[in-house]
Symmetry: C2
Subunit: 194 residues, 2 copies
């Protein structure tokens, strides 16, 4: 089976194991093995037992990603206009080791709109149409889902960010559409991403 | 010279070239070549000219990172309690390709305090001391600077996150302390990070 790592802030839910099991069931229906960050590792180096818990979680997650051919990332805006940074770290890491990356978000509004809204009236639009925050920093305006590094990795992987309004901690239909895209791309993919 | 990539939302400043030139001057004083995302690439593949600007920026940034031995990341909270996601993507990417990662932030308060503050009274502390946001999602509580994936990569690289209150878009003293750490670690490092 084709192993895909399920990245996302979903691990912070009150019952993350049950939630990730639902994602894993959707993956199984598509011929994919969804690897949860909460799964046991097949072979955990003995030295890791001495690490503090937070470092052990990090090296486990990286090891899980290394065992997969792709990542499906929950890029739903998290405590701000952008995706969860832990998830984004894993997207960058996956791209660095040559995996394909897929992503979805349960908010349809584009990054620019979300960012301007998050500034609660403190944003400023210049005569040329560009947007600036209260610190005088430019807001990205490429019509994307989030910061360009993330979307570029996903587009280079053969797909696009799946984005649709949904009840983010209850509805898995947006995840399912993204997993379907991943299954299609991975079925047709002979090698690493371009 | 030892090349280090200067990751950060600093590129969104009104005059990012001048600002990054200041960082590059600090690096030069420490025997490091600071590579700015805004530097020209030595050899840009001709095919990239056909890409939309945002994708071209992304592949350029990744190429710049590939040409370095380490990343110094500005992890200052950006439009929310966490670091800029574009920067965090680059930290993960760098770690994926085996580089060392260093990081700093110009807010001294730890991640938990910043996150709880950002929830503006909507956070909830359970009797066991754990914190939960308004969606019922757990807030990380490891006493770290940001999400554990980021800090774990930096600690594994031989250093820690440098964090101190400073005027974030004017004062480069926190960056300088981080660059000094990077220079020390890189001078003593014979190979890739453990």
């Amino acid at each position: 089976m084709t192993k895909v790592y399920l990245a996302g802030p979903d691990v912070f839910l009150p019952d993350p194991v049950a939630w990730l099991a639902r994602k894993q069931a959707i993956c199984a229906g598509l011929g994919l093995t969804g690897v949860s960050p909460l799964d046991d590792l097949a072979h955990e180096p003995a030295a890791w037992a001495a690490l503090p818990l937070w470092r052990r979680i990090a090296v486990r997650n990286e090891a899980h990603i290394r065992g997969c051919v792709a990542v499906i990332a929950n890029l739903t805006p998290f405590r701000g206009p952008s995706a969860d940074v832990g998830t984004v770290y894993e997207v960058g890491f996956a791209r660095g080791i040559g995996l394909r990356v897929f992503g979805y978000g349960t908010v349809a509004a584009p990054f620019l709109d979300r960012t301007v809204a998050s500034l609660a009236g403190q944003g400023r639009q210049a005569p040329d149409g560009s947007w600036w925050d209260a610190d005088g920093l430019l807001i990205e305006q490429f019509g994307l889902s989030d910061n360009l590094m993330i979307e570029a990795a996903i587009v280079a992987s053969g797909s696009g960010v799946v984005r649709q309004d949904a009840d983010r901690w209850h509805d898995l239909s947006v995840f399912e559409r993204c997993a379907q895209q991943a299954a299609r791309v991975l079925a047709g993919a002979g090698g690493p991403p371009p």
